[in-house]
């Protein structure tokens, strides 16, 4: 089976702190791949490693069978078709929403792709996330939910093959979460593979095809949601007994 992305023994350390330890993973084309784990488990760090913002201290990451870690710079990785959002939103504060999205459309799309359609791409991305009416607003004027949408639109504007979403639903209310979940589903239907980091279990369970659990930088397991839920290590390290009981009783499941 051909994987879209593969990690071989990925390690990332900051001085003495080893945030990611020898993690193997593989992401299939077209799936929604969840990464969960306690705070500080190294989820965001792994994402930064994939997008090239932090160097790996060991191992390799391959995209479509070709090595990207250590050989491609972040902007080159983006142009291969790997878009991302940031956990703590980082839109360009002094730019309008439209300009923010345009940055992705202008610079992030693969070279040699379709060209004369920046405006269409920008408009389409803004319409997709539903903030086209805010196109001329400056980012600091927007509430958190809107800022997250700006980031999502900006990442979509690069027309990614693989989209890395780092807690796009954290801090949103129930209704907004439903909306974004629906967006993620539609993104996948368009043929974009998604790596999703999330703490909200309802979202993770509802969306992901497979889930990888990290704990202290190490991979605990990686499997389908139901299997992961029943894994004792995962329950012990992250989900907790209460969650499993609730799930067994068929009750509402959220938060960790």
């Amino acid at each position: 089976m051909e994987y879209l992305m593969q990690g071989f023994g990925v390690s990332i350390s900051f001085g003495g702190v080893q945030a990611v330890k020898d993690v193997d993973f593989e992401v299939r084309d077209g799936e929604i791949f969840g990464i969960i784990g306690p705070n500080g488990a190294g989820k965001t760090t792994l994402l930064n490693g994939i997008s090239g913002l932090v160097p790996l201290s060991g191992g390799e990451i391959h995209f479509r069978g070709k090595r990207i870690s250590g050989v491609k710079k972040p902007h080159q990785i983006t142009r291969l078709g790997i878009g991302r959002t940031f956990q703590v939103t980082r839109p360009f504060e002094g730019l309008t929403v439209r300009e923010n999205v345009a940055v992705g459309a202008v610079f992030g799309r693969p070279r040699g792709g379709r060209k004369a359609d920046v405006h269409e791409v920008v408009e389409a991305a803004m319409r997709f996330v539903g903030n086209a009416d805010k196109r001329d607003a400056l980012v600091p004027d927007l509430p958190v939910a809107q800022r997250k949408r700006v980031e999502l639109a900006r990442a979509l504007a690069i027309e990614p093959k693989l989209l890395l979403l780092d807690e796009v639903m954290a801090g949103l209310n129930q209704k907004e979460i439903e909306v974004v979940m629906d967006m993620v589903r539609r993104i996948r239907e368009r043929g974009t593979t998604v790596i999703l980091i999330e703490h909200i279990m309802k979202v993770v369970m509802g969306l992901c095809d497979r889930i990888m659990v990290l704990n202290y930088g190490e991979r605990l397991c990686c499997d389908e949601p139901d299997v992961v839920c029943r894994n004792d290590d995962v329950i012990c390290a992250y989900l907790g007994q209460r969650f499993t009981q609730k799930r067994r009783n068929g009750g509402a499941t959220s938060g960790a």
Partner: protein
């Protein structure tokens, strides 16, 4: 660069904007009137005011140039004056050693500074914020020290730029229009940058460089380009001021004694503040009238950079 596609679309936007601006015709009329007035001014103004305006033009040019790196890109290039001096020296050395005339010498000055900015920018622009700021200051001091100790620059004596014209009125006009042209050129370049991909990239870098990288912007290329453009215009401003300045000192010095003081000007722009000591007159002490009109008509260039 990937400007092509965006250009077409931005061109459409720019057309709209232009249309909007023509609707704002009183402002346009005032701008056009001021431009025409400035073009005509040399025929009405005396030498003194022309020199004042020339200096205004040059320093406005430099402020615009600093704005490209410090304003748009957010890199506080405090030591941008280094290009002012480097440009002056490049032009003078080109003129003296290679026999280049004024116009190509000024362009060479700009290009020399571009090279300097690219070579130094690649390492220095890896720093950011205050670290970049300190590096530019250091660069300025180092350059000054090097210039003072090299033979080709004339050491502490500086360079004498060959005479451009012996007619002071003509010289004044020449440098007036040179300064005015430079200012227009820089304003045009800034306008262009603002309305094209490169401006978008620079502003993205300013607000979040890492996010810009994650959005596919080759930040190294863009910020180096921004500094190079900044250096280009500052570098052309150097010789334009340096060469023209003593022309007036010379006129004055025919009446008064040589002065050892220097003319110092300060241009401050946003966070960046570049200060240039443009001291020519010391050299007058060794260009006595006995050297005749020939040497009288040569202009003296002696630029010392300093952080004041």
């Amino acid at each position: 660069m990937r400007d092509l596609e965006f250009k077409q679309q931005e061109a459409a936007l720019a057309r709209n904007r232009l249309l909007a601006q023509t609707r704002n015709w009183p402002l346009m009329a005032v701008l056009v009137a001021i431009t025409l007035l400035l073009v005509a001014a040399p025929f009405a103004l005396g030498g003194y005011w022309m020199r004042v305006l020339t200096v205004v033009f040059i320093f406005a040019t430099m402020a615009e140039a600093v704005n490209i790196i410090a304003g748009y890109t957010g890199y506080p290039a405090l030591g941008n004056a280094v290009f002012f001096g480097t440009g002056a020296y490049v032009a003078a050395i080109a003129a003296n050693e290679l026999g280049v005339s004024l116009a190509p010498a000024i362009v060479l000055a700009g290009l020399g500074c571009v090279t300097y900015a690219v070579v130094l920018g690649l390492p220095i622009l890896r720093l950011s914020g205050r670290y970049f700021l300190m590096a530019t200051l250091g660069l300025m001091e180092i350059t000054r020290e090097v210039v003072l100790n090299l033979d080709i620059t004339g050491g502490a004596q500086g360079q004498i730029f060959p005479s451009v014209t012996s007619d002071p009125v003509l010289a004044n006009r020449l440098f007036y229009y040179l300064g005015f042209g430079l200012l227009l050129l820089t304003a045009l370049a800034t306008w262009w940058i603002q309305n094209h991909n490169i401006g978008l990239a620079l502003r993205a870098i300013k607000f979040d460089e890492e996010a810009a990288r994650a959005m596919g912007i080759n930040t190294t290329v863009y910020k180096t380009a921004a500094w190079a453009v900044s250096a280009f215009f500052t570098g052309m401003g150097g010789p334009s001021t340096g060469i023209s300045w003593p022309t007036s000192s010379q006129q004055r010095s025919t009446r008064s004694r040589p002065r050892c003081g220097c003319t110092s000007s300060t241009c401050s722009e946003e966070r960046a503040r570049c200060s240039v000591h443009c001291s020519a007159p010391a050299s007058w002490s060794f260009s006595p009238s006995s050297c005749g009109p020939a040497s009288q008509s040569s202009t003296i260039l002696f630029l010392v950079l300093s952080s004041c």
